[in-house]
């Protein structure tokens, strides 16, 4: 509890961060103690990544950092310096949803939707690396993400379907 007191009493120094977010060069001011998740949401204005736990257990805050799936709640914002970040807002190509987004919504692989951005990015990272995953590989690829609504089966089917579509594309 004393940490909070010190934080507000001490004037936090501001750090300038330059990075690429969803293909755009972005710079923002943050503090050394701010998570990348909070910086994305509060400084950059991208609220697609969600805080489900703040401790790296649920994956709702997942983003791609240089193509790797990461919990943005576990990364300090200044660590994004020079990195390429992809959030769910960067998955669609203009008006055209990414095939994963399309198969998730058509296959009812989302209900409340809080976990969806994280699952989509984890699935993208998986398919970028392994375009034809087995069901077991899909489960491993998405093992860092929790969903409390769907029971996961429709998520697995949506990833399988997207893999087929991407292969044909």
């Amino acid at each position: 509890m004393s940490l909070g007191k010190e934080m507000s009493l001490k004037k936090m120094s501001r750090t300038h961060v330059n990075c690429t977010i969803n293909g755009d060069e972005v710079d923002f001011l943050t503090t050394d103690a701010t998570s990348l998740l909070d910086a994305l949401r509060d400084e950059v204005g991208l609220t697609g990544a969600k805080e489900g736990c703040g401790t790296g257990d649920c994956g709702a805050c997942s983003v791609l950092v240089d193509g790797r799936i990461q919990c943005s709640c576990l990364i300090f914002a200044p660590e994004a310096e020079g990195r390429h970040i992809t959030t769910v807002e960067g998955m669609a190509d203009g008006e055209h949803l990414h095939p994963l987004q399309q198969t998730f919504l058509e296959g009812a692989a989302l209900q409340c939707g809080i976990c969806t951005p994280g699952f989509l990015l984890a699935a993208k990272a998986l398919l970028d690396e392994n375009p034809a995953p087995t069901e077991t590989e899909i489960r491993y690829g998405l093992a860092g993400n929790l969903c409390r609504c769907t029971g996961y089966d429709k998520i697995i089917r949506a990833v399988q379907e997207a893999a087929v579509q991407l292969k044909g594309a």
């Binding site: 007191k5 934080m7 009493l9 969600k50 649920c58 987004q101 209900q111 976990c115 609504c149």
Partner: protein, 746 residues
């Protein structure tokens, strides 16, 4: 035709592209931030609290305490909880507002320019407490010398809301019994773990209403509770739901809403009208909101050698925690379901809730049903084993049919389909055929399977669950439809409805039903949802009731709108308030009465593999059979079944809330383990029956809770089938399984 199809939900694209706004996302730039301070004391009397140091911290705008609370009592069904615990509370309430009765009793709302400032202010509150005895368990609370947690209710004990059932001639029933099965069952807490922790923003709207944007399950009920504490008429409070990140019963009761409303009202009076935002961390959410009830059920069942039930005695005790929340209603459901979907001619059932100084028990998918079903279904499976009768056949011998009385001596509402559901489930699961081969099970993924220590088994369970509110609680649902168009037929429509979209897809189901009855195409149905300024009383998104109730309200509103249309009104407006047949509270001595107007019936067959070396269990196949009356949107319906099964999978296998001396000691998703994608059943087969309910819209019943209720006893039976060991307590964590197996010499 719109119903019976599975169009894509209107909120799917914004959920998939990240643009949809949940309460935690829609934070105005100029918002102040509120931190709600918990007492951190399971049982203590506040001696003093000074806010001076907190107020002196830079960035702290204000501190709201009990002195700011006009009416310091609230509760969804009983006014037994202070809004803010404090020494200088107003005294309007019957409940003593100076006592903290659980670790998350709220004592102050600190408002700051930033979350950090508000957090610093919270840490600087100076509070003195006089500790009182911690009643950490049901037994502690029932000890003769235990202090009374709620002396204001006039009862001489911490037990309350006693319920009875006295049916038939129990002595004769026991005399007829040729076999008796008796056991005591212990059921655990369960945390909802919706992926979105509580969040909201409060402000004074253009019409001067205290407005709270957030999440919940029943707009007008939230409004009533907030207005009561604020001392305002209902219409001076407005509740608006943003997108809601899951609820499952966990957002039925108040969490942050009253604190936010108080803050917005008091700050506005002091000239500060910036919006106030609050969001809970996961830890605050787990510590700060209610759980599925833990409890203890003793059950004794007598039957003939042929398997016909002759007598049943049950004793049900649920841990209500510090405040009632909906414990009295949950208890009522456990009280009814503990005798199952069976003809029980002679019965004696006693149930009560008990106040303790722990996290309150409250609503959670199934609402007492899972606890009751675990006891009776495990008992039935033991009876089948004792008599060497097929568990499906045993159930068919005893299942209720149309015209039968339920356990409360009232004829069950028409449309009893227990036999059809049991038969269909057993057939689909091929329950009496040998099990199909499965992949070898390796509980530790990096090690090869060890076939000599794995055993397989299967289990069966069935039950019934009420659709809609019970026991005479006023049940209603309101809808308003506007029809537009220039020609003979309407070409577009507006639907105004309060029903909560908590992820289940109800807003699409409502639009589909509106399209079906108005003839307007689905894409021309505009929904205006969940704002008390524009929509009526929906009742809650709970009790598997919303499709049933909203559908009937929409049918009525459409009929009114069509009348107006034929009369030439443009737009043609129809409003309707649907009320189902009334229900009754049970007779205090005999339990007689008609508690419900509709039930859903379900059965499940489960196959498992148990690793007797490590105690790990894999569920290989689940057949989940439901009579839904009519599937409005089959794909979303299957999503409800699959989601409920996996939630129940966590309940019976892994979710283990640790509560010690009144404190939750594992309030994190790293230590409270909900199922991940690698933990789930290998196959969930949803079998949907459509046997029309006489009262349901288009014949529909509810389904959201049903797949949860029977899963735990079905898994427990399958584990017994595999190992010969009965587990009367769960979750079946590997350590509990190993202990049970070793105890049995395995």
């Amino acid at each position: 035709m719109s119903i019976g199809q599975s169009p894509v939900r209107q909120d799917a694209a914004p959920k998939a592209d990240g643009s949809i706004q949940y309460a935690g996302d829609a934070v105005p730039d100029n918002a102040l931030h509120a931190v709600i301070v918990f007492s951190g004391r399971p049982h203590a009397r506040m001696v003093s609290m000074s806010t001076d140091a907190a107020r002196a911290i830079a960035g702290v705008v204000d501190v709201i305490t009990a002195a700011d609370v006009p009416v310091n009592e609230y509760g969804l069904t009983m006014l037994d909880q202070p809004a803010l615990v404090g020494v200088d509370h107003t005294g309007v309430a019957a409940v003593d507002g100076a006592i903290s009765r659980w670790e998350a009793d709220q004592i102050a709302v600190v408002i700051g320019e930033s979350r950090a400032a508000a957090g610093a202010g919270a840490a600087a509150l100076d509070v003195d407490w006089e500790d009182l005895p911690i009643l950490g368990t049901i037994d502690d609370a029932l000890a003769p010398d235990a202090p009374l947690l709620h002396p204001e209710n006039g009862l001489p004990t911490n037990a309350y809301h006693p319920l009875k059932i006295r049916r038939g001639d129990l002595e004769a029933g026991w005399a007829d019994a040729e076999v008796v099965i008796e056991g005591t069952y212990t059921v655990p807490h369960q945390e909802h773990a919706y992926l979105q922790p509580e969040a909201g923003t409060a402000y004074i709207d253009d019409e001067g209403r205290v407005t709270i944007e957030g999440g919940g399950q029943w707009t007008t009920e939230d409004r009533e509770q907030v207005a009561h504490v604020l001392g305002l008429p209902d219409e001076r409070v407005r509740i608006v739901y943003k997108a809601i990140g899951g609820a499952f019963g966990g957002k039925e009761d108040m969490s942050i809403q009253i604190a936010l409303g108080l803050a917005a009202m008091r700050l506005a009076e002091r000239g500060e009208r910036r919006p106030i935002h609050c969001r809970w961390s996961r830890e605050e959410s787990i510590v700060g909101h209610h759980k599925r009830h833990r409890g203890r059920i003793h059950l004794r069942l007598g039957a003939t050698n042929e398997g016909i039930i002759t007598a049943l005695e049950a004793d049900v005790t649920l841990d209500a925690g510090a405040y009632n929340y909906t414990s009295n209603k949950v208890l009522g459901n456990a009280h009814l379901t503990v005798s199952g979907a069976y003809r029980v001619p002679n019965a004696r059932i006693d149930s009560r809730a008990v106040y303790t100084t722990t996290v309150p028990g409250g609503a959670f998918r199934g609402f007492g049903g899972p606890q009751g079903a675990f006891a009776i279904e495990t008992t039935m499976n033991k009876l089948a084993a004792a008599l060497d009768i097929d568990p499906v056949k045993l159930r068919l011998l005893n299942a209720v049919v149309d015209g039968d009385e339920g356990i409360t001596q009232a004829v069950l509402p028409e449309g009893v389909t227990a036999v059809e559901v049991i038969t269909a489930c057993a057939g689909r699961a091929a329950f009496n055929e040998p099990m199909a081969d499965v992949e070898p099970f390796a509980p530790i993924a990096t090690l090869p399977p060890e076939p000599t220590v794995t055993r397989r088994g299967r289990g069966f369970a069935t039950s019934l669950k009420n659709v809609g509110f019970s026991f005479g609680f006023p049940e209603r649902c309101e809808a308003e439809i506007h029809l537009h168009g220039d020609g003979d037929e309407p070409t577009s429509a507006d639907l105004f409805h309060g029903g909560a979209e908590v992820g289940q897809g109800n807003h699409l189901a409502m639009r589909q039903m509106t399209a079906e009855v108005t003839g307007v195409t689905l894409d021309r149905i505009r929904g205006h949802f969940s704002d008390t300024a524009t929509s009526g009383d929906p009742g809650s998104a709970s009790a598997s009731r919303l499709t049933f109730m909203s559908g009937n309200s929409i049918l009525g509103a459409a009929e009114e709108a069509e009348k107006a249309w034929r009369d030439g009104q443009r737009p043609a407006i129809g409003r309707f308030r649907y009320t189902p047949p009334p229900t009754e509270s049970l007779d205090e001595e005999t339990g007689e009465g008609q508690p419900n107007f509709c039930y859903g019936y379900m059965a499940q067959a489960v196959e498992v593999t148990v690793d007797t070396g490590t105690g790990h269990i894999r569920v290989d196949r689940v057949t989940s059979t439901h009579d839904v009356g009519r599937a409005i949107n089959p794909r979303m319906l299957r999503g409800q079944v699959e989601g409920a099964v996996v939630q129940a999978h966590g309940y019976v296998l892994s979710e283990d809330l640790q509560v010690s001396d009144g404190f939750i000691t594992n309030p994190r998703l790293s230590a409270y383990l909900i199922p991940g994608i690698g933990d789930i059943p290998t196959e969930v087969d949803s079998q949907i029956l459509e046997l029309a309910d006489p009262l349901g819209p288009f014949g529909a019943r509810g389904v959201a809770e049903m797949p949860f209720i029977t899963y735990a006893p079905a898994v427990i039976a399958a584990v017994h089938d595999a190992t010969g060991v009965w587990f009367d307590e769960f979750p079946l964590t590997p350590s509990r399984v190993v202990a049970g197996l070793r105890n049995a010499g395995i």
